[in-house]
Amino acid sequence: MATKVKVLGFWCSPFVFRVVWALKLKGVEFEYIEEDVFNKSTRLLELNPVHKKVPVLVHDDKVIVESFVILEYIDETWPQDPLLPQDPYEKATARFWAKFADEKLMQTACKSTWTKGEEKEDALKATMEALEKIEGELKGKSYFGGENKYAYLEIAIGWINYLLPIWEEIASIQFLDPKRFPAITAWKSKFLDNPLIKETLPPREKLLIYFHERVKQWEIDATIRELAETKLEN
């Protein structure tokens, strides 16, 4: 029985990659539709009216949005090669760390690229603290999922392996110091060597060009915000 699965995505989005990796791991066929997130299509706005964002999963006539919500839907709908553990406590632990990485690591790491001076120092410090906690969670294990290299957290946190090095290069900073984060470094190497991951990642040069422009834009946006706030105060 053929069911139609579509993914609306953006070529370098870490949130979209989660969904693509999960579907590929489970051997679920899908049609990928690239969206221009800077010029959103009517289709995207209709499918995700609340957030107007990618990824969007369309399964037959059902529409699911928000990457972690999509991951759990995928896991429940196609139970082969499970992503989440069966045990409720282990499941809760996986959900906790996925949430942590998005809330405490992604924001601060991104911020480290476009801020300056003290703000940049603070963002960098917060990023390193978050990485330390993740390092602690990974210590002594090959993968977050123990010996299971396709577990939920590999997919949820895998973005750090391709995105942090790009941000490091653009902003001339170092996040993933191998001496400080040996477990993450070892995991990163295995992750990037995985053929399934390799075939999905965009070329490094393309990512560098894109984020170079994005960081510049974020710097400009920050300056505009600062000026607006100063105007309000005066």
Binding site: V50, E66, V69, I70, E72, Y73, P88, Y89, A92, F96
Partner: protein, 220 residues
């Protein structure tokens, strides 16, 4: 059955979500009151990452983050299900739970702000309410349909606390003519026997939150 303990503080809407879930499932638990200005060694041991309440400790194993705890409770004690039983409806429920977590922050920010910042956070909170009114709840009695569920617990704490925070901050955004569905829903929510029994007294909450807000403003 392994022991269940809940570390919390009774001003916290996040703690109440967990209390409601445990009560709805009929799970006995011991409440461990935490002084947030002087956090216990046990709390810091159980939640070293965030150092926050609530923390649910089941058989000595800690679970942190209120909505992670709620899904844990749902999976560990399957009686009186609080989530739908098919993947798509569960995905919808999880969407709104995440929305409550991400956008509900506006209400807590309202509590902590004054002047222009208060105006900004009120606008955010209004947008959140509008989206839920239009897209999330519609004409349904509860978010999942006829029965109370985790989504109701997520929003229940936000809206109940909002009603008190409005009085504390001297503002009004949750008006019944603007949000007829949500107004009907919060009344239904408060009348669920378990919830009715375990709602903080609004007058006491008002006094306590007023004091807390004064303390926050003084130390700013």
């Amino acid at each position: 059955m392994a022991e269940v303990k809940l570390h919390g503080a009774l001003l916290s809407p996040f703690v109440y979500r967990v209390i409601w879930a445990l009560k709805l499932k009929g799970v006995p638990y011991e409440f461990v009151a935490e002084d947030l200005s002087n956090k216990s060694a046990l709390l810091l041991k159980h939640n070293p990452v965030h150092k926050k309440i609530p923390v649910l400790v089941h058989g000595g194993k800690p679970v942190c983050e209120s909505m992670v705890i709620l899904e844990y409770i749902e999976e560990t004690w399957p009686q009186n299900p609080l989530m739908p039983n098919n993947p798509y409806d569960r995905a919808l429920a999880r969407f709104w739970i995440k929305f409550a977590e991400d956008k509900g922050v506006a209400v807590w920010k309202m509590f902590r702000s004054t002047g222009q910042e208060l105006q900004n956070t009120m606008k955010e909170a209004l947008e959140m309410l509008q989206t839920v009114e239009e897209h999330g709840l519609g004409e349904k009695k509860f978010f999942n349909g006829d029965n109370i569920g985790l989504v109701d617990l997520a929003f229940g704490s936000i809206v109940y606390w909002l009603q008190v925070i409005e009085d504390v901050a001297g503002v009004k955004i949750f008006e019944s003519h603007k949000f007829p569905h949500l107004h009907a829903w919060i009344e239904n929510f408060k009348q669920v026997p378990v919830i009715e029994e375990k709602l903080p007294n609004q007058d006491e909450l008002l006094v306590a939150l007023k004091l807390r807000r004064e303390q926050l403003m003084a130390s700013a």
